[in-house]
Amino acid sequence: MIPLSWYLIFSAALFSIGLFGVLARKNVIGMLMGVELMLNAVNINLLAFWSYLYAGVNGLVFVAIVFVAAAAEVAVGLALIISIYRRKRTVVPDEVDGLRG
């Protein structure tokens, strides 16, 4: 009923929106949210291919591992943000320039 193309176009749109968020946001939390959107787009693609083309378990394993990677990324990323916030009182990566020569 729903063609595969709808899912693919949707996930391409979601991916591009996430990409825009990562590129354009000043705030590192905003960038992280963009990354989450991109990972979700990837998951939609993987599950769409699983559902329409290859009904095995391979696609599902990929999705599960993307979930794990997303959780790990957010945990470490937010820990870094908290740590930087504690020292520098900022969440804008451009202001964390202590290593500039």
């Binding site: 590129l23 000043k26 939609i44 290859y54 394993v61 599960a64």
Partner: protein, 173 residues
């Protein structure tokens, strides 16, 4: 237009609109709350793809853990969130251009693919993921035991790293 298509279009529209708001709103808290709505919309799409298990896991991991953590951090760092000036870089139009190009390129490339307009599902209707097969594949030495182990090591490393980075060490500053 069937009922499924209507559900898809509504869910997709809500998801995309809230995703756009997530990356453009000035108040980070509002974007974080809209991120939750986006993730819920994605989980609705998972249900439409007959992946009920991953829909539940999406709510569990993304909303229960990821979005909650993001909200937590946004609330913790609220004192430095300046909403008076735009939250995007000066040359945000460049980013918009790049993402637009990526979107167009993806769609154009995909539309030339012969499976693009496929309507026929590979999985039988009214059946979800074969969870038993997925579980066996994850621990099967000839299957995905190695990636599974690597993922678990990644999680352990993450846990230790996050605790180490975020812990307040005595004697500093």
């Amino acid at each position: 237009m069937s009922g499924m298509q209507i559900v898809f279009l509504v869910a997709a529209a809500i998801t995309l609109v809230s995703a756009v708001l997530v990356v453009t709103l000035r108040r980070t808290m509002s974007s974080a709350l809209l991120l939750v709505l986006t993730l819920l919309g994605v989980s609705v799409l998972f249900v439409l793809l007959q992946a009920q298990f991953f829909a539940v896991v999406q709510v569990l991991i993304y909303i229960g853990a990821v979005a909650t953590l993001i909200l937590f951090v946004v609330m913790l760092t609220r004192s430095v969130m300046d909403t008076s000036e735009p939250q995007v870089h000066k040359n945000w139009w460049l980013a918009a251009l790049v993402s637009l190009v990526v979107f167009v390129a993806l769609v154009v490339t995909l539309s030339s693919w012969q499976a693009f307009p496929q309507v026929q599902r590979a999985i039988p209707a009214d059946s979800g993921e074969n969870l038993a097969a997925l579980g066996k594949a994850l621990v099967d030495p000839n299957g995905f035991a190695l990636p599974f182990e690597v993922a678990s090591i990644l999680l352990v490393a993450t846990m230790i790293g996050a605790v180490y980075i975020a812990s307040e060490r005595k004697g500093e500053e």
